[in-house]
């Protein structure tokens, strides 16, 4: 069985030729002096003008859904009641490390983004939502410094929950900040309509928020100097391969082939990818040459999601990987919606028997039916992610599925396939969890 090698020296490097916005080049633990002298915590003059700038920047959400950040700010700003903003740093996705990295190493960048989101939305009430204890410590230390700065101007409280896949979903965030359990609720209402304390609530991923100081500093057109028309700027990619975990800042529009080549991966042995953390399922080799852009990957019926990419090598089996991810969904769903706990269990059972060369063609047809029929039947997106995992396998690797029905899969016969889904390690071995 393959185990995930902990991260080594590749952690936290920016793609060549760009000056990093999100990854720091300097000291490990950002302090307020360094952050301010680098241009942070600038007073916000005109909040309305800033919101227009965010809209024009084209910044999209980095938490998974790629929703335009400006449109979200606008919705809570214009709602009528005074809003609340929440920085979502829970990062329940096991293949992603970026949010915890940002909070641990660039807490002031995150808090500056939260400040700008709050002032832009028209409120001083803000929350940071985390599960990682070290992220919480780092944020609280930075908050102590920031509160002494009159320009900070907002009130921030921190909520810590137990880590869980579903705990970062936006309605789980709202329910937990309100003092309830960190599990999703059904919609409506959505947080922007009715969230924390019943007020319109903007839940923003910490990486999305960390881009706001850059929109303020560079303006919309300067912000757009990197990236593509529909996916402007840079994003943090958590890249997991048998060689370890890398955290990289990549301008949108770059290809995976360029990233892997630069990162020293053996592109020739790539069989495919697991995209968007666990949410988008497997992708084939053609993903190597598609620009990393939300819409380009959506057109492939895949997705960049939260920016986590796991490499499948020649000796990986996409059936085994998909089975491992589905088993994770069957374990980690919140157990609230019948279609989700039954559907993920059923899809997991078929994928595990397919992995073990025991499934029938009829089983695979039932899987195909669930992969479309279960979409939209959960209170949160988990069930859609699970459906994506099944659909992507059937679409991208039909020959491998056929071999698992009728023949003998090479990597599986060699006994070297994953029984656990890929997961990313935040720090090099010996540097704590």
């Amino acid at each position: 069985m393959r185990t995930n090698v902990p991260a080594g020296a590749r952690i936290a490097t920016a793609y060549p030729g760009i000056s990093p916005r999100l990854l720091s080049s300097g000291a490990e633990d950002e302090d307020i002096g360094a952050y301010r002298s680098g241009g942070g915590y600038r007073p916000l003059g005109d909040a309305e003008a800033f919101v227009r700038e965010v809209e024009a920047s084209g910044l999209r959400g980095r938490g998974g859904a790629a929703f335009p950040a400006g449109r979200k700010l606008r919705a809570v700003r214009d709602h009528g009641a005074e809003p609340v903003v929440v920085a979502n740093g829970e990062e329940g996705e096991p293949a992603s490390v970026k949010d915890r990295w940002l909070m641990r190493h660039r807490p002031h960048l995150v808090l500056d983004g939260l400040r700008l989101a709050a002032l832009g939305a028209g409120t001083r009430d803000a929350h940071v939502y985390v599960s990682d204890p070290r992220s919480r410590q780092s944020i609280e230390r930075a908050l102590e410094e920031a509160r002494r700065d009159p320009a900070f101007a907002i009130e921030v409280s921190v909520t810590q929950v137990e880590p869980a896949y579903v705990a970062g979903e936006e309605t789980a965030v709202v329910q937990a900040v309100n003092g309830g359990p960190a599990v999703p609720t059904d919609k409506p209402p959505r947080p922007f309509e009715e969230g924390v304390d019943g007020r319109p609530t903007l839940v923003g991923n910490v990486e999305t928020l960390a881009n706001l100081p850059w929109v303020q500093r560079l303006g919309a057109s300067g912000y757009r100097a990197l990236g593509t028309e529909r996916s402007p700027g840079t994003f943090l990619m958590t890249l997991t391969s048998p060689g370890g975990t890398g955290l990289h800042e990549i301008p949108f529009g770059t290809t995976l082939r360029s990233v892997l080549t630069w990162a020293g991966e053996d592109v020739g042995s790539v069989r495919g990818f697991l995209m968007g953390g666990y949410f988008a399922g497997v992708a084939g080799k053609d993903a190597l040459d598609v620009p990393l852009d939300y819409d380009a990957f959506a057109a492939l019926r895949s997705g960049l999601g939260c920016g986590a990419v796991a490499v499948l090598h020649r000796d990986d089996c996409p059936v085994a990987t998909s089975a491992a991810v589905m088993a994770y969904f069957a374990r980690e769903n919140a157990g609230q919606c019948g279609s989700c706990f039954n559907g993920t269990a059923a899809m997991s059972a078929v994928l595990e028997s397919l992995r073990d060369h025991k499934a029938s063609a009829a089983d695979v047809e039932r899987l195909r039916g669930w992969s479309t029929g279960l979409r939209g039947r959960g209170a949160c997106g988990t069930l859609d992610g699970a459906a994506n995992v099944a659909a992507a396998l059937l679409r991208e690797f039909p020959e491998t599925v056929a071999v698992h029905l009728d023949g003998r899969c090479g990597p599986c016969a060699a006994g070297d396939v994953r029984l656990e889904p890929p997961s990313a390690a935040l720090e090099p071995a010996g540097h704590g969890p």
């Binding site: 919140a334 919606c337 029929g373 209170a379």
Partner: protein, 75 residues
């Protein structure tokens, strides 16, 4: 008439799907979601309003609630 369905409450008795088959879509385990015409808005087709009212009353776990036209659940 607008409704919402809380799938975290639904216990899969399938009663709503009997009363208003065009408004509730029942999965193979008996659990309900709003059917495609209602998705998003929760707006019930006029000819199904009577059936949906019975479903609201008969759902054993009160997973179905009527919404005012503006959006918040009726208290």
């Amino acid at each position: 008439m607008r409704i919402k369905l809380d799938r975290t409450l639904c216990d899969g008795f399938g009663i709503c799907g009997v009363h208003a088959p065009e408004s509730f879509s029942i999965d193979e385990w008996g659990y309900a979601s709003l059917a495609a015409p209602l998705a998003g808005s929760g707006e019930v087709p006029t000819r199904e309003e009577d059936g949906v009212r019975r479903a609201v009353l008969d759902c054993p776990v009160h997973a179905i609630t009527e919404l005012p036209e503006a959006g918040r659940p009726v208290a």
